[in-house]
Symmetry: C3
Subunit: 346 residues, 3 copies
């Protein structure tokens, strides 16, 4: 967390701004700045709770609540019918985690340490799950984009739900794999080290308060997306794929880079890849299920999103295969992210 | 084989059913059930013969006759002009072997053994040949699908034949590689262990009889495809890519899973990948050559088939690269197969 | 070099032929034959100069002037407005280096030595940079090919320049990586062995003369492309992607194969991959920059070129991942090249 903590001041500021009916651009900016530290607070509170719950339930909590911020933002976007923004932000979280977070970690770490090693086996399990997950998303999309029969829409709704269920089952099986049948593979990583700083009661209180605040700020954020993009001439798509994922993941990002700087590349890589994995296998299915309450959202991504995700996953599989990283790999990951961002921007 | 042997009873049943002019659906079902054990009998007879022929010719016989069933079914489909079914069943055999057979092997084996290891070097040779083979199929297809000039049809016929010849040469060179120049790489795998159970005469007789029976049942099967798909509202494409490959490979599949359950993952992986390789490099070219007798079939696959094959090959290369497997990898392979099957179905 | 030296006789012959106004086909052939040894002479002179400049600047010179011939040919093609030929020859150099040069090296070397090993780590750095570079080229192309809005042309010009700058920066950082921060990774390869055969003055004189001769012959070559393709019914595209790269890289190719035959697979692989890398990260951006003097050329490749490049890079990453090669891998690489060439031809 560190200095991000001071950003909490943007919570009251954004509330006042909303009451004063400032321009959407300002509201978007202020609520974004408020969400960044809140995501960190939620992560910290979850970690504290896991000290009391024991390592297994704790690991589960961390894995599940790690992306609570994205989930909440997406929930409000879904409610507002901004399906394109929701899907773009799913894709954007995946590529942002892999290219930007992993790239920045490898660059920052690589400047201090010539070669950084990480647990190849663990990363291979995650990278390979990520490959499967993206392939699972790609197959139905290719069918839809090639066939394009409007008559099939109803059928594709069922396909979406079916795939979401499959993803979610794989997610649960993945947790079972890493916390039960193959937990020794993960060695010390899953062990909680240190002691709780907060009491259980405080932790839970903080988690609840932070969740409420994130929900409030997400409403501000989502309500300002449409008018803001109009004013600035940006596409909603760009906001979804680049800006929202950066806001939602900023706290996690800074942790990963910090770990890399301390030569704990294992943790940095696991945050980046694990977070991408949770987005596809947990957040995306949950959003499909939630959308059934409003208007069903399909799981079919557009070509840009698919290509960007496939490319990212191929890269991470390549990078993971040798269990080592250096600054040049970091630069290349970031360069690919910048090229994607620029292509989306123009 | 095991209990599949009892399915041989479906040979007389299907013949009677054909004479009684039962509905196509029943004929399809009965001839399918008859083919399943016949494929196993043919495999067994070939193996017996190889005891008498010595390891090299035996290996060659096994490699070449291993897909005799698919070849015979496809021959009759080709004769009936069902090109789409033939090509779909080639693609379906490749993805079925990689995703379903390998997946089931890894799952079943992985439930009994925490981590199963296999000879990484051998698998890498096969996986890499598979990558080349699929790329060889993809390149001309991309040209055709992008250009789409009808005027080029004649030219693409020559391209198909040229590529089929190239595939076949690579197949022969691959056999030369594994039985001559690099046979030590394969170690004990290529050695025949145990003794012949049958006399040479009996083996040859069984092989000939089984071949005749497969031919008969294939005619039943192929003749019932069109009316059956009409009745059930299935696409011929679905029958070709999912159902026929399962029928043609069932015997092989059960062997692979059995081997995995005995922790002989080496054999299971080699059956799955080797079988896919033979389909592309041996069965597909032979079918192109045979089609010249009737009406030339092009080697150009459609987008769905290509994507499904590319995806499967990428996965198998990923999975092969660490020389280990576990139950979660098995689940993921099967999940991708199910997603492909569902997408084809709707 | 060896016997290629005698081809220098084609310099005066081609000049006389141009004065005598021979048919374009002959001029194309004669100037091609003259360029082949000149590329070798330029390489030799650069290497001589590097003996005097010390290993770092020498390595830089080699890396930078290694593709001078392609650069000069492309310069004249650019000046003549043959954008399609220029881009096709960039793609063709990449696939030719990876598939044809590497394939021939692995085949020739593999016939003499059962298994050839190479420095896996160095190759992985290059193969992974190549993956990034091709992805960098692919992303904007996919956007353009999917959107296809003419109104965006001006924007895509800026995108091209931006990507060219990014590529060039990565190129410089790559040199910094291999000559400064991680030079020990490359071990003895970067050390100049032996002594200079020529004086510095002679080396520089030879380099200048050879450059002038290449420039002259390139003008002959480029001027004859259009009329020759008309006469022979070849597409300019085929000339760009297959013929020009073979001419421009022949000297380098023969060196790589020679090294493989001497079991110096390290050097052969580094020539093939390194050369592809320089084409994408150095030659392509420089050509984009130069094109601004005439008429801006976009960095967007067509589908065929992209697929061919992506496929090549996937293969080289696969091949590099085990640090070993054999004759069968060589055959497969060459087979893919032949399939690509045939597909482009028809």
């Amino acid at each position: 967390m560190g200095f991000l903590k001071y950003f909490l001041i943007f919570i009251p500021i954004s509330i006042v701004a909303d009451l004063m009916k400032v321009s959407p651009m300002w509201l978007f900016l202020l609520s974004s700045l408020a969400i960044i530290p809140l995501a960190g607070v939620m992560g910290e509170a979850t970690e504290e709770i896991s000290f009391y719950s024991g390592p297994r339930i704790g690991g589960f909590l961390n894995a599940t609540f790690g992306n609570a911020t994205e989930l909440i933002i997406s929930f409000f976007a879904l409610k507002a019918g901004l399906f394109d923004v929701v899907k773009a932000s799913i894709a954007g979280s995946v590529i942002g985690n892999i290219l930007l977070v992993l790239g920045a970690s490898m660059l920052v770490g690589g400047i201090r340490y010539k070669v950084q090693k990480f647990n190849k086996k663990v990363v291979e399990v995650s990278a390979s799950m990520l490959l499967f997950a993206v392939i699972g998303l790609t197959i139905p999309a290719i069918f839809t984009h090639t066939i394009k029969t409007e008559a099939l829409t109803a059928r594709y709704e069922w396909l979406s739900i079916g795939i979401a269920i499959a993803m979610f089952i794989i997610y649960l099986l993945g947790l079972y794999f890493s916390f039960y049948t193959h937990k020794d593979l993960y060695g010390s990583e899953h062990q909680e080290s240190g002691e709780a700083k907060w009491s259980l009661k405080k932790s839970i209180t903080v988690l609840i308060l932070a969740t409420i605040a994130v929900a409030l700020e997400s409403e501000f954020l989502v309500s300002s997306v449409e008018p803001m993009t109009h004013t600035l001439g940006l596409s909603e798509f760009f906001v979804g794929i680049i800006i929202i994922p950066i806001i939602g993941n900023a706290a996690e990002h800074s942790t990963a880079v910090l770990m890399a700087a301390k030569n704990k590349m294992d943790v940095a890589v696991e945050i980046a890849i694990g977070s991408s994995l949770q987005i596809i296998l947990f957040v995306a299915p949950i959003l499909i299920f939630i959308s059934l309450l409003f208007k069903p959202m399909s799981i079919i991504f557009n070509e840009f999103e698919l290509v960007a995700m496939i490319v990212s996953v191929l890269i991470v599989n390549r990078v993971a295969s040798d269990g080592e990283s250096n600054w040049l790999e970091g630069v290349q990951l970031i360069a690919v992210y910048i090229i994607i961002a620029i292509s989306f921007l123009i």
